[in-house]
C-alpha cells in the first residue's frame, strides 16, 4: 500500500522460474591453526570451561530432580527443569562472539544459553563495569549474598553471581534474577543481554524481532538471536515473525541510514525432538530445517545448517551472520544441529528413542570431543581440563548451599499481595528515552491544526447534535492523543495493517503519514500474532509502541502474544521490564460473525493487562493520553459505531489541550435516583435512550454509568449509585455469556447486597453469531431490551408492552439450549 511501489502487469504476468539460493549444510571445515589465531589459546580453553559450567550446572539440577541431592546437599525442587545436557557446544559457540549489548531470547530449555551468554559478557566487560551491574541489580541484594561465599577476584564474583542468580531464580527465590517469578523457563538477566526465555514453544521468535526492530528504530548497536527449538518450526507465530523480519520495506522504503532489516538471527536449536515428536521425518516435512528459509525471501534468510556439536563452527556462523545483519540484509536463519542426552523433562521415560541412538550421540559428545581437540592441538593438558571439573563442582556446591537455604535465599512474601505489587509498573513517562523525535513536519503544520479548528462540542446552542464534519469526532480525538505522544516520545512507533497512507482501516491515523517517517508508522504484514509479539519485544526493550489489530475479532490470531506475553512479562520479570504497549482493537458491527465481537471479557480475565473502553470523544482522547504516558500494557477497545460521533455528553467538549482521564474511574453520564444502568462501550447511548423513555413514560429517573475501565476499576461510584437506587442493570455489546458485566454484577451483589431491591441483571448481545447487518437489532442490545429487562426482572412498569422475552424462564431456556 504505497504509491512508491507501482505494480506493473507486464512484469507480473511475464513467464520465468524462481531459482533458489543454495542452503549450505555443515559447511564449516576445522582449521586448527586459523582457529588458534581467531580465538587464541585463552579463548579456546574458555569455551571448554564454559561448556563444563553448563554441563555440571545441569547435572546438578538433574541430581536434585532425580535424587533430591547433589554433593550431599539435599533439596526437593518442585518446579520444572528442562535440561540441555548434550547441547552445551551450541550455546557456548553462539555466545562466544556476542557482546553484552547483543540480545539472546530463548526457550524452556535455555539454562545453558543464560550461562554461556553471561560468561561471555563477564569475559569481555571490564571489572568495574561488572561490579557496577551487580551493585545496581535489585539494589545489590543478590550480590551481598554472593559476596558471602564467593572466592577470588571480581570476575570470579561475577561468575558466582550468575550461577547463584540463575539457580535462585530456578528455585523461585527472591534473590533470583526475577525474584523467582520467572523460574526455570523464564529466567533472564538483561544487563548481560540475556533476554526473556519463553515457556511457549516458539514464543521468542516474534518478541526477538520486536527487540531487533527496537535496535533499528532507535539506532542501537547489536544484534538479536531468537533461540527456539526445531519443533517451533510448526508454530504460526514463528512464520509470522519471519514475514515481519523479512519485509522488503526495511530496505526499500525506510530511511537507509537506519540500516535495513532488523538484525535478527532465528537460531533453531535442532535437537531433533519436540518432546516426543520428531519434526524431521515425522511431524514436519522440511527434511533439512534450514530449507524453510528458501520460502521466505530471495536470500533464503541466509539459512544454513551448522554443526552444533562443534562450538567453533557455531561461533563462526554467528560471526558471519553478524556481518550480514550489520549490512541490513537480515534476517538470518541457523539450523544448529545438536542433541540432548537428558530427557525432555524429569518425567520423560524416553519411550520415543532407542538407547543406542543416545549412545551414538554420546560417543560424539561435543564436550568430550572438544576437550580432545584442545589436548591434541596443545592448548591444554588433560589435567587442566580435569581441574575445571573439580573447581566447578566445588563452586556449584557453594552456590547450591546458598540457593537452597531459606534464610539466605527466602521467597517473595505473598502476604500483603507481594506478587500483586509486581503486576503493574504504574509509572508515567513523557518519553521512554530522551531525544528529538523523528518527524517530517512541524506539529502545527499537521492535520492537528484542522481537528483543533473544529467545534469541540458536538452540540449547537439549542442542543442539536452537530455532524462529525463540523465537530471533533471520536476518531479525531484518538488522532490527537496519538500525534501528541508521537511528538513527545522519540521511541514511540505505531503499526498494524493498513496503518500508513490508509490511516488505519477506520482512518484514525489519517494525517500521520505526512508527519512520520516509515520507521515510526508502517504497515505490518497480516500477521496479528507477530504484530503483537513484535510490539511486546519492542516495549520490553524500552520503547513505546502502539499496535493495532483493526477488528477485535482478530485478537484470536494473537492469543498467545496478548495473553501470555504482553500480559505476563512485567510480573514475570519482577519489574525489571516495562511494557509500554498499547494494543488498539476495534469492536465492529455490520460485518457479520467474525467482525462484530466485543471480547473485552477475555482480556479482562487475564491478569496483567489494563483494559480501557472509552465511549465518548472526550474519553477517547483522555484515556488514550493516559495509556500513552503509562508504562503498562493496555488493551484499548474502541467501537466502530462511535468513530464518527462528536462529543455530546461532556459539556466542555473535547479539550484542545492535553489532559488525562483518571485511571479506573467510571463516569456518571446521567444522574437519577430510581435505577442504575451501567454500560461498557457504545451501548451507553442506547442506555441513555432507555433512560429518557423511563423518565417520560414511567416517571423513573435512571442513573447511567459508563464504566470506561474494565481493569483496574474503582467500584466506589457504582456502589454509591446502587446504594441509592437499589436497582441495577448492566448492558454492553458483548455476548451475554461470560460477559465482563457478569463480573461487575457479581461484585455489586456482594458489595451492595442489602441495598438491592432486585437481582443485578445483565443485558448482553445474544449468544449467537452476529447475523447480517440488517438483522443486527435482534443481536445487539437495544433500548427496548433494557426496558423489558427492567420490567421483567427489576420493577414491573405500569402499562409497558414488551417487545422481547427477558423473563427468567428465558434465561433458563437459553442456557439449556446453549444459546
Amino acid at each position: 500500500m504505497t504509491k512508491l511501489i507501482p505494480i506493473d502487469p507486464a512484469e507480473a504476468r511475464r513467464s520465468s522460474v524462481v531459482a533458489g539460493r543454495e542452503v549450505p549444510v555443515n559447511a564449516y571445515r576445522s582449521n586448527p591453526a586459523r582457529e588458534a589465531q581467531i580465538f587464541g589459546r585463552d579463548g579456546l580453553v574458555r569455551i571448554y570451561r564454559d561448556m563444563v559450567y553448563i554441563r555440571e550446572f545441569e547435572t546438578m539440577l538433574d541430581r536434585i530432580k532425580q535424587e533430591g541431592a547433589y554433593q550431599g546437599i539435599t533439596y526437593d525442587h518442585l518446579g520444572p527443569a528442562h535440561l540441555s545436557i548434550g547441547q552445551e557446544a551450541a550455546a557456548v559457540g553462539q555466545s562466544y562472539h556476542l557482546q553484552a549489548h547483543d540480545f539472546i531470547f530463548g526457550s524452556h530449555r535455555s539454562h545453558g544459553e543464560i550461562l554461556a551468554k553471561s560468561l561471555s559478557a563477564i569475559a569481555k566487560l571490564p571489572e568495574d563495569n561488572l561490579i557496577d551491574v551487580m551493585e545496581r541489580y535489585m539494589n545489590g541484594r543478590p550480590l551481598r549474598v554472593v559476596e558471602s561465599f564467593s572466592r577470588g577476584g571480581a570476575k570470579d564474583l561475577a561468575v558466582d553471581y550468575i550461577l547463584y542468580g540463575t539457580l535462585a531464580e530456578i528455585f523461585g527465590r527472591e534473590n533470583g534474577f526475577n525474584k523467582g517469578m520467572g523460574g526455570s523457563m523464564h529466567a533472564f538477566f538483561s544487563p548481560f543481554g540475556v533476554m526473556p526465555n519463553n515457556a511457549i514453544v516458539g514464543g521468542s521468535a516474534d518478541i526477538a524481532v520486536g527487540a531487533a526492530l527496537f535496535k533499528r528504530v532507535n539506532r542501537k548497536p547489536g544484534l538479536v538471536v531468537a533461540n527456539i527449538g526445531d519443533a517451533a518450526m510448526g508454530c504460526g507465530p514463528v512464520w509470522e515473525a519471519f514475514m515481519f523480519a523479512a519485509m522488503d520495506q526495511f530496505r526499500t522504503l525506510w530511511d537507509s541510514d537506519l540500516g535495513g532489516n532488523p538484525p535478527i538471527i532465528f537460531n533453531f536449536m535442532n535437537n531433533f525432538y519436540g518432546m516426543g515428536g520428531q519434526p524431521q521425518g515425522e511431524t514436519m516435512a522440511f527434511g533439512v530445517l534450514a530449507r524453510v528459509g528458501m520460502g521466505v525471501n530471495p536470500e533464503a534468510m541466509h539459512a544454513e545448517r551448522i554443526d552444533g556439536y562443534n562450538p567453533l563452527a557455531v561461533a563462526d556462523a554467528v560471526a558471519r551472520k553478524r556481518s550480514i545483519l550489520e549490512a541490513g540484509r537480515g534476517p538470518a536463519l541457523l539450523d544448529t544441529v545438536t542433541y540432548r542426552f537428558s530427557g525432555h523433562s524429569p518425567s520423560d521415560a524416553s519411550a520415543y528413542r532407542d538407547r543406542s541412538e543416545i549412545d551414538l550421540w554420546r560417543q560424539q559428545d561435543g564436550l568430550f570431543r572438544y576437550g580432545q581437540y584442545l589436548v591434541e592441538n596443545g592448548h591444554a593438558y588433560q589435567s587442566l581440563l580435569d581441574d575445571y571439573q573439580a573447581d566447578i563442582t566445588e563452586r556449584l556446591t557453594r552456590v547450591l548451599a546458598a540457593a537452597v537455604s531459606e534464610e539466605v535465599s527466602p521467597r517473595i512474601c505473598t502476604e500483603n499481595d507481594g506478587v500483586g505489587d509486581l503486576m503493574f509498573s504504574n509509572e508515567t513517562r513523557d518519553r521512554m528515552e530522551e531525544g528529538k523525535p523523528d518527524v517530517l513536519i512541524p506539529l502545527n503544520e499537521s492535520r492537528l491544526s484542522q481537528t483543533r479548528a473544529k467545534q469541540r462540542l458536538g452540540l449547537d446552542e439549542q442542543g442539536n447534535r452537530l455532524s462529525g464534519l463540523r465537530a471533533v469526532t471520536y476518531a479525531e480525538a484518538l488522532f490527537e492523543a496519538m500525534i501528541h505522544r508521537f511528538y513527545q516520545d522519540p521511541t514511540m512507533i505505531a503499526y498494524g495493517e493498513e496503518n500508513r497512507d490508509w490511516g488505519g482501516a477506520f482512518g484514525v491515523y489519517r494525517g500521520l503519514t505526512e508527519c512520520l517517517p516509515y520507521h515510526r508508522l508502517f504497515n505490518a504484514p497480516i500477521s496479528e500474532g507477530a504484530i503483537v509479539g513484535t510490539a511486546v519485544g519492542y516495549a520490553l526493550s524500552g520503547g513505546r509502541v502502539v499496535a493495532e489489530l483493526m477488528y477485535c475479532d482478530f485478537m484470536g490470531r494473537a492469543g498467545d502474544e496478548i495473553f501470555n506475553q504482553m500480559a505476563k512479562w512485567q510480573a514475570m520479570s519482577a519489574g525489571v521490564l516495562h511494557m509500554p504497549l498499547v494494543l488498539r482493537v476495534s469492536v465492529g458491527a455490520k460485518y457479520g460473525a467474525q467482525h462484530s465481537q466485543d471480547w473485552s471479557a477475555m482480556v479482562a480475565h487475564v491478569p496483567g493487562l489494563k483494559v480501557m473502553f472509552p465511549a465518548t470523544p472526550y474519553d477517547a482522547k483522555g484515556m488514550l493520553n493516559l495509556a500513552l504516558r503509562g508504562t503498562d500494557p493496555v488493551v484499548f477497545f474502541e467501537s466502530q459505531r462511535l468513530y464518527t460521533e462528536p462529543e455530546t455528553l461532556e459539556a466542555g467538549g473535547v479539550p484542545v489541550d492535553y489532559y488525562e482521564v483518571e485511571l479506573g474511574e467510571p463516569a456518571v453520564r446521567r444522574a437519577g435516583n430510581d435505577l442504575t444502568i451501567v454500560t461498557v462501550g457504545a451501548t451507553l447511548y442506547r442506555a441513555l435512550e432507555a433512560a429518557s423513555v423511563l423518565a417520560q413514560e414511567h416517571n423513573l429517573e435512571a442513573e447511567v454509568i459508563d464504566l470506561r475501565f474494565l481493569n483496574p476499576l474503582n467500584y466506589e461510584a457504582i456502589i454509591a449509585s446502587v446504594r441509592k437506587t437499589g436497582r441495577v442493570v448492566l448492558a454492553s455489546d458483548a455476548c451475554e455469556r461470560g460477559s465482563f458485566l457478569h463480573t461487575v454484577a457479581s461484585n455489586i451483589s456482594q458489595l451492595a447486597f442489602d441495598d438491592l431491591d432486585a437481582p443485578v441483571t445483565v443485558v448482553g448481545a445474544r449468544n449467537w453469531i452476529t447475523p447480517p447487518a440488517e438483522m443486527e437489532a435482534a443481536f445487539f442490545p437495544q433500548k427496548e431490551w433494557i426496558i423489558d429487562t427492567i420490567h421483567e426482572r427489576i420493577l414491573p412498569l405500569a402499562g409497558h408492552s414488551l417487545s422481547t422475552d427477558q423473563t427468567t424462564h428465558e434465561i433458563v431456556r437459553r442456557n439449556r439450549e446453549g444459546t
Binding site: A349, L795, P796, T808
Partner: protein, 444 residues
C-alpha cells in the same frame, strides 16, 4: 566406600515408583551407565542406570514393591563392604520381608448428625434484600404484603407503601414490638391512630410458664399487665404530672339520678348511671377549658374543640379506656347509651380499634370502691385525667352553720408541661359547680 542407588523422582508429581524388575543380581559386577533395574510410574516404565562401577552389594527392595522417591534401593561397592548404613529405615531385609502391621486406623465418628434436606413446604414470600431491610426498620410484617415486583416479589415500594399506611407508633411501642412478645394492631388508640404500648397485644407464642416455689409465687409480668406497667411507668417518666384534689357537692347529682331512676319506661332514662352523669358534666365543662382537652406531643400542645372522652373500664383483661367521641355534642342519654355499649364491648373483648382511638381527656372512677381521693396517672399524650372518688357526708359551712352534705372527691392529674396549676384549679372549680348545678347544664 559403598554407594547408594537412589529411587529417582521421574516427574514433578511422582512420590513413589514401583520397582518392576532388577536387571542385576546381588554379587553382579556393574559398570557405570548400566541399567540396574526398571521402575514404573503412573505414566511410564523407565530404567535406572548406575552412576557407579562396582559390585551389587545389596538390594533393599523386592520386585513389585512400591518405593518412595529419593529412597536408597541398592548399594554398590567393593565385595565385603558393610552396607547397613545405606539401608533405608523401614526397608525389609532381603531375607525376611514381613509385612509391617498396618497403622491403626482410628474410626472417627461425625460429631454432627447426617445432613438431611427437608423438603421445603413453606416459602416465605420472595422479598428483595432492600425491602427486607426497610421492613425490619419499620416493623412491617412482610407476610401481610402483596409484592408488586417480578413474580410477586416484595420490593422496596411495597414496603414503603405499607410504612406510609402503617399507623404511627410510639417509640415505646416500637421497642416492645422489636423486642418481641407483642403484636401491633393495625390501628392504635393514640392520636391520629398512633399505636401506643397499651395497644399491643401479647403474641400468641408468648404463654409464660409460671414458676412456683415453696413460699412465694413468681408471676411474670406479661401481656396486658406488662403493657399497663410499661405505659404507666412511661407516663410517670415522661410527663411532669401533679394532682389537685377537691370535693364537689353531689346532692344535685344524686337527686337527679333518683329522678331518672323513677322516670317512666318510655323515656329510656332509667339506666343512666352516676358515671354517665359525671361524663356528661365533664364533657360540658371541658368546653370552657380547652387547655385541658388537649394532647402534648413533641413540644406541641394540640387543643381539641370537641371532647373525645375516654373513661377507664376495669375488665378481666386489664384496664381499657374506650372513647366517647364528640361527647360534648351528645345528650345525656346518648352518652349513657354509648358508655354502656363501649363498656360491654370492653368486657367481651369486641371493642373496635376505632373506639379506642383519640381520646382527648380521661375520666377514671373509683367511687364505687369508696376511695376518698387518689392520684390518677396521666394517659399521655393527654394532658389531664380526672379521678372520681366516693361520695361521703362532709360538714360544710352554710351561712355560719355546719351542715352535712354529700360530697364527691375529685382528683385532677395534669401535665404541668402543658398546663399551669391555676387553670387546672379553675377547671376543677367549674367542674364542682357543674356537678352542683347539673340540672342547669342539662338545660343548655
Amino acid at each position: 566406600m559403598a554407594q547408594a542407588v537412589v529411587m529417582p523422582k521421574p516427574g514433578n508429581n511422582v512420590e513413589s515408583c514401583v520397582l518392576v524388575s532388577w536387571k542385576k543380581r546381588i554379587g553382579d559386577q556393574v559398570e557405570a551407565g548400566e541399567t540396574l533395574c526398571e521402575i514404573e510410574t503412573d505414566k511410564a516404565v523407565m530404567a535406572v542406570d548406575s552412576a557407579f562401577s562396582g559390585s551389587m552389594l545389596a538390594q533393599f527392595f523386592a520386585e513389585g514393591e512400591e518405593v518412595p522417591v529419593f529412597t536408597n534401593i541398592a548399594a554398590i561397592g567393593q565385595p565385603g563392604e558393610i552396607v547397613d548404613a545405606l539401608r533405608p529405615a523401614g526397608a525389609p531385609h532381603e531375607s525376611s520381608s514381613e509385612p509391617s502391621a498396618p497403622p491403626e486406623v482410628q474410626s472417627r465418628e461425625s460429631a454432627h448428625g447426617p445432613t438431611s434436606h427437608v423438603g421445603v413446604e413453606y416459602r416465605e414470600p420472595a422479598i428483595s434484600p432492600r425491602a427486607r431491610r426497610l421492613a425490619d426498620q419499620n416493623l412491617v410484617d412482610v407476610s401481610t404484603l402483596a409484592g408488586s415486583g417480578p413474580q410477586g416479589r416484595i420490593i422496596e415500594r411495597d414496603v414503603r407503601a405499607a410504612v406510609e399506611q402503617q399507623q404511627l407508633m410510639t417509640p415505646l411501642a416500637k421497642r416492645m414490638v422489636a423486642q418481641g412478645g407483642y403484636d401491633a394492631p393495625s390501628h392504635g388508640t393514640g392520636p391520629r391512630g398512633r399505636i401506643l404500648a397499651a395497644d399491643l397485644a401479647p403474641s400468641a407464642a408468648q404463654t409464660p410458664e409460671q414458676q412456683e416455689t415453696d413460699d412465694y409465687e413468681s408471676i411474670p409480668v406479661q401481656g396486658v399487665r406488662r403493657v399497663i406497667a410499661q405505659r404507666l411507668l412511661t407516663s410517670l417518666q415522661t410527663t411532669a404530672q401533679l394532682t389537685l384534689t377537691r370535693s364537689a357537692d353531689a346532692e344535685a347529682l344524686l337527686t337527679y339520678r333518683e329522678r331518672l331512676k323513677a322516670s317512666g319506661e318510655p323515656l329510656g332514662l332509667r339506666d343512666v348511671t352516676l358515671g354517665d352523669l359525671i361524663h356528661f358534666v365533664v364533657s360540658r365543662v371541658l368546653k370552657g377549658h380547652l387547655d385541658l382537652n388537649a394532647l402534648f406531643e413533641e413540644d406541641i400542645v394540640h387543643r381539641f374543640n370537641s371532647v373525645n372522652l375516654a373513661f377507664a373500664v376495669d375488665t378481666p383483661r386489664g384496664l381499657i379506656a374506650p372513647v366517647v367521641h364528640s361527647a360534648d355534642s351528645l345528650s345525656l342519654s346518648q352518652i349513657s347509651t354509648e358508655c354502656k355499649r363501649l363498656t360491654a364491648a370492653c368486657h367481651d373483648g369486641t371493642i373496635a380499634p376505632a373506639d379506642l382511638s383519640t381520646g382527648t381527656f380521661t375520666v377514671t372512677n373509683l367511687g364505687s370502691l369508696e376511695i376518698e381521693s387518689f392520684t390518677p396517672i396521666l394517659n399521655p399524650p393527654q394532658v389531664a385525667i380526672l379521678g372520681v372518688g366516693g361520695i361521703f357526708l362532709k360538714p360544710v359551712d352554710e351561712d355560719g352553720e355546719v351542715h352535712f352534705r354529700k360530697q364527691m372527691s375529685l382528683s385532677l392529674t395534669f401535665d404541668h408541661q402543658a398546663v399551669d396549676g391555676a387553670p387546672a384549679a379553675r377547671f376543677l372549680q367549674d367542674l364542682a359547680r357543674g356537678f352542683a348545678q347539673v340540672d342547669l347544664l342539662l338545660a343548655v
